[in-house]
Structure formats: C-alpha cells, structure tokens
C-alpha cells in the first residue's frame, strides 16, 4: 500500500506531520514515537532571537479544545541550528521549520539562514503581529501577505516554502490564492483561532495573556470547511490541521482536499497519537480496498 504524498518537491513517507508547537523540537517525543515513521516533523516556531514567552497561565482547557498563549517562546535561530537541528538530522524524516517574525525583513533573514542550513521545509507562521502595521497580523492583510511571501520566495532556494494561513479571515480562498500566486509551494491551515476564557470565581482571564489560540476537536469543522474552500481555489498542496485526534479525522481532511495533515493537540492527549493515526489510515484504506492514499485527496462526493 502506498501512503506517500508530495508537498512541492518534498516526498513524505506518509501524510502525517507534526503540528508546529505541539511536538517540541522532536526530541521530546522520541521516547514515544519512532521519528523515522513520521511523514515530516514541523518544529516549534523559531524567531531570529530567543524569546522568553508569556507568563503563566499559558494554557487552559475549553469544551473539546484548549487555549494557548505560549508567547512564541523558542530558543532562537542560533541555538536551533546549533543544538536542535543536528539531533533531528539523525532521522530520515524531513524537517520543516516554522518561522515567525514581526517584520518582513525578519522573515527573510530567518528563511535565508534556514534555507542555507538545508532544512527540508520552511513554514511561514503569518499569524504574528506586524509591528509596522500596528500589530495587526501579516496573515489578515492581503497586500502585506503578498509582499511577505514573495520576498521570502526570492531567498528560499532548496527548502519547500509553506505558508501557514491565519484562519481569522472572512474569505480563506482569497488568502489562499494570494499565497499561491506569491510563490508558496504549499499551504498549511488552520492555525489556532483567537479566543478567550474567564474564571468566573476570580473574574480573571484564564490566560495571563487574556486571549489565546483555540485548538483541538472544537475547531475541526471550521478547519475542514477552510481546507475544502481552499482546495477548490488553489492547485498547490494543502496541509490540513485542526482537531485531528484519530485516523478518521485525517480521512475527513483528505477527502476535503488535504494532501497531508498535521497532528497537534492530540500529541498532548496521547504522545503516540501520530503513530496510531498512521496505522489507522492504513486500516481504513485496506478496509476500503484503496492502495494509494493519494486517491482520496479531495474525493468528497459533493453533489
């Protein structure tokens, strides 16, 4: 049975990727997961300089989901290349680095350095606040997004360039098209959805940062819809994510048009989730008598 899929010129053993920020730098899960078995590993978002992150509480639970406001804590580009990347290189699995900055130049410098370092993929997290634009995120302003992606495109040669769109837009098709036209090799969606929870006893927000990003099964129907809308608009492959807990969820995303998927919050609930999901996909295909997982991509019977 063939589980392999292609994201741009990158060939994945199978469609199951780890979602940025939910799988650490890979090493944290090596005890539970044979990293060689994964389709690809996307690491926690990296910035030029190390970032301290937000005060606690950084996470809290919500109905069928969770909020997080980690504040993009990360070791920074230098330490990532020196301390984290070498470890990941020991595995045959492609490494995709999620990058974040608050200026376009920042994204360009990061991407250039990572491209030179030979990472397999670069995922632009465009949900970050743009300091030049008074903090509104790159991913919700069409012109800015176009400029950002095309600038980065020029400097990225070897790595696959993936744009991780913000779900916080009225019309995901438009933004998908912009990312494609600006030179992305693939799209990732969806990122967490801005949300908030309040402790009615203390009257305090449940997160020190007040608002945070909603992830988990709660957002799956929104993610499925966006993947499907995006699939009907662009030709480049889509990495679908948002609330994937098991293989059935993956099949749902792929039928909606995802070429690959990313597993996020599920890793926290079950550190072996990615592996069990890969096995589950095989079982589904076997049960349905399908020998190539690519056959189900976008094969929703909508009529």
């Amino acid at each position: 049975m063939n589980l392999s899929v292609n994201i741009g010129h990158l060939k994945l053993k199978n469609p199951v990727i780890t979602a940025s920020g939910t799988f650490g730098y890979g090493e944290e899960y090596a005890e539970f997961v044979d990293l060689n078995k994964l389709g690809a590993i996307v690491v926690k978002g990296i910035s030029l300089k190390p970032m301290e992150g937000n005060p606690s509480p950084r996470i809290c639970e919500t109905p069928c989901g969770m909020l997080n406001a980690i504040g993009l804590q990360n070791v920074g580009l230098k330490d990532f290349l020196k301390k984290k990347l070498p470890y990941l290189r020991r595995f045959s699995t492609p490494v995709i680095v999620n990058v974040l900055a608050n200026t376009i130049q920042g994204y360009v410098r990061l991407s250039t350095a990572l491209d030179d370092s030979g990472v397999d993929g670069i995922e632009l997290n465009v949900s970050c606040p743009n300091v030049k634009k008074g903090g509104i995120s790159f991913g919700t302003d069409k012109k800015t997004l176009a400029k950002l992606v095309s600038k980065v495109r020029q400097s990225v040669k070897g790595s696959v360039l993936i744009t991780k769109l913000s779900p916080n837009v009225s019309n995901i098709q438009e933004f998908s098209k912009i990312a494609e036209d600006s030179g992305s090799d693939a799209l990732s969606l969806i990122n967490t959805i801005p949300a908030m929870a309040i402790d009615i006893e203390t009257r305090k927000p449940r997160l020190a940062n007040i608002t945070g990003g909603l992830s988990g099964p709660a957002i799956k129907p929104i993610a499925i819809r966006m993947v499907w809308e995006s699939y009907n608009t662009v030709k480049i492959p889509i990495i679908g994510m948002g609330g994937i807990m098991n293989a059935d969820d993956v099949i749902e995303f792929m039928l909606a048009g995802a070429t690959a998927v990313a597993v996020g919050t599920a890793n926290f609930v079950n550190p072996k989730a990615t592996i069990e999901i890969i096995e589950g996909i095989e079982q589904y295909l076997r049960r349905k008598g399908i020998n190539d997982v690519k056959e189900i991509i976008g094969k929703l019977h909508a009529a």
């Binding site: 639970e61 804590q73 926290f268 609930v269």
Partner: protein
C-alpha cells in the same frame, strides 16, 4: 517499557466527599517513580475533558500505584466516578522529584492540603528523622493521619479554622517552631508542597532565615513532557539568585533582561525546584 501505558483501576476509595484514594495497576511494564514525580492521568476516554490531569505519585503498594486526589473541577469530578476494572491511559513518572537529603541535615516536610500527596513518599523515605508540618483549611482536609503518625518523627498538625491541631496556617506554625528550635537554621532542609500563596510565604521565610530547601510547584499542564511549553514558571538566573536573598520581589528586574530565558517548565525541569530559584 514506555512511560505511556494502560492501567487498570484497582480501587477508587472516597476518603471523604472531597478526596479520593486511587489505586491503579499498570497493564504494561512501567517505570518506578521517585518521590515528587507525577503522572498525567487520562480523565475520560470520550476525550471530555480533553486534556489529562497531573497527579503526584503518592505511594506504591502491592496492589499498585496510589494517588490522592481532591475533587476540584470537571476532571477530578469524573475521576471520582472511576470504577474498579476500568482501564485508563497514564503518562509517567514525569518530571524531577525531590533531591536526596545531604547527610547531616534534618528534613522539614511542609504539606498544605492535598500537597501531602507529593510529600508522603518523603515521609516514607525519611521516617523518624523527619519532622512534618501538615496543615489544611479544616480537618476534612487532613488525610492519612494514622499512617503519618506511625511514620514521622514529629507530626505538627494545623487547620485554618482550628477544627483540628493548632489554629492557623501551616506557615504560622512553622514560624513558631523556628523561634523555639535550638538547631541552627542551616541544619534544616525544607521539602514543601501546597498552594502557591503558601509556598511563596514559606520561601520568603526560608530565604530570610537562610534555610535551604525544595518546593513542588503547580501550573496547568497539557503535555507533561516539556513539549507544549504550557507550564512555565518564572525562575531566577544564577546572578540574580545571589541578589534575591535581599530582594523581596524581583519581577521588575527580570522584565528588563532581554532575551534571557527566564522560564522553566514545571513538568520537565520541575515540579520540584530549589526554593530560592522561583520568582514570585
């Protein structure tokens, strides 16, 4: 041998209407826990609540591994419903437990409320040479007293409402003790677990009296293994730690230090930290 394993509920004994004693038997070879380590417990396989909940290793018995838990919210309420024979997933043992005691030192164990769960293994380890300060809101909150009496050298009990033992917080009692005691402060090593406010006051007191020690901290958790970066606790950098002996609140300084990683993860670097390391 994986730290993520299936476990069978052996028993789930209500100690009173707010606290249960849970005993589980791993169905796969499992790692031995150290005092102060914890497990992430799957609350419901229907995935609501979604996230597992962290609970300190309380005791090992021939029947299995035991946990003491207090019913606080959704998750622990569902755990109250755990029935013998049911099978759940568990992740652990996790984190760094309490360090060994230096020879010539006297262990002072301080437990606030359900914090006794984390302290209990130390009681077993130190036995008669340990002195345990154990406080709770009321006597409902004081658990396992018979077992404790038999084990520790000295057991000093207190309740906020005076319904059992001394009236007052465990800290008040602890302070009084320091006044009277002959031994030098530096002869003691504190091991403490309880609510944030208690640990903060205790730490300040200890620092002011030059007593070393360790405290077990709490933050909301998702992964339990240092991957989600959700359970951050603010700690002092080496250079700042020196100062802090004198400075009460050093958050101000911290903020100004650029790009210094000032956070550690309770689940991975902790839950136990040297008490002088934590920033309040």
């Amino acid at each position: 041998m994986s730290r993520f394993f299936r476990a069978e509920i052996v028993s789930n004994l209500p100690l009173n209407n707010k606290n249960n004693l849970l005993t589980i038997k791993p169905l796969e070879p499992a790692t031995e826990p150290d005092p102060g380590q914890f497990y992430m417990v799957e609350v419901s396989n229907s995935k609501t609540p979604l996230l597992s909940r962290p609970f300190s290793f309380f005791r090992k018995t021939p029947e299995g591994i035991q946990f003491l838990f207090e019913i606080r919210g959704k998750g622990t309420l569902m755990m109250k419903g755990f029935k013998g024979g049911e099978v759940i997933h568990m992740l652990g043992p996790l984190g760094r437990g309490y360090p060994e005691l230096e020879d010539d030192k006297i262990p002072m164990l301080v437990a606030g409320g359900i914090g006794i769960a984390s302290i209990f293994p130390l009681v077993q380890a130190f036995g008669k040479k340990a002195c345990l300060f154990y406080g709770a809101r009321d006597k409902e909150g004081l658990l396992m007293l018979d077992e404790l009496k038999g084990l520790v050298g000295e057991l000093i009990i207190s309740t906020d409402d005076g319904s059992m033992g001394r009236r007052g917080t465990v800290i008040d009692v602890f302070m009084d003790f320091l006044m009277q005691t002959q031994a030098k402060a530096c002869d003691y090593t504190i091991y403490a677990c309880g609510r944030k406010q208690m640990l903060e006051v205790l730490s300040r007191t200890a620092l002011n009296n030059g007593i070393k020690g360790y405290i077990s901290t709490e933050e909301n958790m998702a992964c339990g293994i240092g991957a989600c970066l959700g359970c951050a606790v603010k700690v002092k950098s080496k250079e700042l730690r020196a100062k802090s002996r004198r400075i009460k609140n050093i958050n101000s300084e911290l903020r100004t230090l650029d790009y210094e990683l000032m956070y550690k993860m309770v689940c991975k670097d902790g839950p136990v930290f040297p008490l002088e390391e934590i920033v309040w």
